[in-house]
Symmetry: C2
Amino acid sequence: MLTLQKQKQFAELAVVIGVNMQKGQEVIIDSDVACQDFARLIAEQAYAHGAKLVTMLWSDEKISRLSYDYASTETLCDVPQYIIQRNKYFIEHNCCLIKIAAGNPNIFKGVAQDKLGKVSAARSTALKEFHDATMSNLLRWCIVSVPTASWAKTVFPTLSEQKAIDKLWDAIGKTMRLDSDNPTAAWQQHLTTLSARAQRLNELNFDKLHLYASNGTDITVGLARNHTWLAAQEEGADGVSFTANMPTEEVFTAPHCKDINGTVHNALPLVYNGTVIDGFYLTFKDGKVVDFEAKEGYETLKKLLDTDEGSRSLGEIALLGKNSPIAQSGILFYNTLFDENASCHLALGASYPTTFKDGNSLTQQQRNELGGNYSIKHVDFMVGTKDLNIDGIDANGNKTPVFRQGEWVL
Amino acid sequence: MLTLQKQKQFAELAVVIGVNMQKGQEVIIDSDVACQDFARLIAEQAYAHGAKLVTMLWSDEKISRLSYDYASTETLCDVPQYIIQRNKYFIEHNCCLIKIAAGNPNIFKGVAQDKLGKVSAARSTALKEFHDATMSNLLRWCIVSVPTASWAKTVFPTLSEQKAIDKLWDAIGKTMRLDSDNPTAAWQQHLTTLSARAQRLNELNFDKLHLYASNGTDITVGLARNHTWLAAQEEGADGVSFTANMPTEEVFTAPHCKDINGTVHNALPLVYNGTVIDGFYLTFKDGKVVDFEAKEGYETLKKLLDTDEGSRSLGEIALLGKNSPIAQSGILFYNTLFDENASCHLALGASYPTTFKDGNSLTQQQRNELGGNYSIKHVDFMVGTKDLNIDGIDANGNKTPVFRQGEWVL
């Protein structure tokens, strides 16, 4: 269990390092009602650091589940105009967005995949403008997580509810570097290390990466032209830096969506739309998934791949070593924010405009011509096994070992 | 403590007797995050009874308090357009609105009255269309209450938090007739009794009521022309009946806003904008407050009276006997929903259009000509002491005893 003092430090990190809120800014906190105590700590920190206004965007996954059980697909697909208006307001007012991601990984278990897929696609389409704004950092955003009972019990099923919650708090506290005397300074140091790594990859300017491991993964991922490697810290459209994911261990860039060939197997389960997808592989040809299989969650994976044209290609490749604190914890969090930081990963769907040089000044069409992928989805899945090897291949075909046995060798 | 089974019956009452939701309707549940468990029970009952969709309107009074502590008056007065759009949607979609009222009566204690008053007035003005829609039953609505820790501790300050919550649940359960074997049938019987009482008052067709008691109350309240007495059950604009307040014990109608003369003293504290107003009197001349005093909350009362022209006159007079179950409980709930049902009361501010014959087909101007009051406020305050006497006076000046010693004698 984290002390209230540590929880306050955590909330402050989200405001100061996460969205890097500037005095006089409006802050949106997107939280399940189950996380109300921590949401209030963030609100208080935001105000204490000079927020103009904090607006809560409450949700309740249990009510969402009820709506899937009772309301029609048609009703759920219909996104009221006032939601779109609200999102416009957030963009126009240059709000910061802090999301607390703490969902029960199995909340939608048993809901028809067809219904989940249709509703998810319809909402993504209706909320496209806001999604695009986030993807291109028009507003600065940050995701953090705190334990809820249902999530903690999924992670630690053999413990009592309270013990599971306490243990998950401890684990999250470590990944958030709250065991440091000065968490803010520890984060600044960490961000510097990650930036240096991205810098080195940019200097090497690889054309492709070849990933291979004993589980059958053998895939060559071409990188988009004019791609740039980013680490934790990104730049908002207003030039202010921020850290979108906390914790974060990765450096990442944009694949070339027409130059991906081979097969990749997942290394950890993927939780998508409240459903677990596991034991799956994807085979790519010229950038598109041409074959796939899944031992668990096949239908969900299929719906995801069938969302639109771009959901069959990749929008992100992210690298991190098996010795990262999250990987070392050995905990499967069933939460992308953590699990993606335990393992190298790829993302089905859209690439981030910021992973191109001057990406936000390019049109979507221009980024697409460079190999950038577009989709209404962006879904990470983990591929970094403990024996993953990666070679960087430059424009002349020269190979440089980047990863050996799951860890950096650059 | 109410069993889960009883809580479910309670939730069902709100859906079936309260808003009288019709199959295929949309339901809005307006709840503090502290009441999430009960809000979910209502959502489930609404869906089980055929709701098309349940939309949650979450609030958090602790975040609201933070916003008053940190955000500027100007910022808080600014109601974003998307909120107004959202309310329009609720009206246009003929939604039912169920509100869970469970606020900490002291949540805004210490906030400058000037700030509270300005913000409250600005928001009421911005949300006028929705307020008017509710007042004229354009959408069917219902208010219920469940215990929260802070509210329960205010009601029972000497008990432990858990015991206070349990005791408040028990008290609410009794007022909701949940101790009956068939709460729905008990409510239907109760509604019939109240309707008969309203019917009798309509037959007598009084011109004025004279209220007097030993605390100094001595006031003559003229009734609006074409007024009609209503009881718990009202009719929505779509002709479907509903019960706005649960519990409810009152019969009520519209005073004539230019024909109120004399002085009235409060019988119970009034909680307004999170502030307690007590030990107050109001002196009226020709329908307007011309003098007032308060031992506690004077500034808050002053702000309320100064809101607009109509906030200095009355919009409602409601009668109920001292033997009503809530009055008998002897509990001061610090919550208008209950306390107004323990005592005869008056309301500063707007009259309900429905308290006029064919009121919803009249314009505001027409109702005003009949003596109806208009304001952006409608705030009940309790005047029913145990020795309150009321005489009905007809157009010829004939007197009929209506109340003696705080109880009906009609």
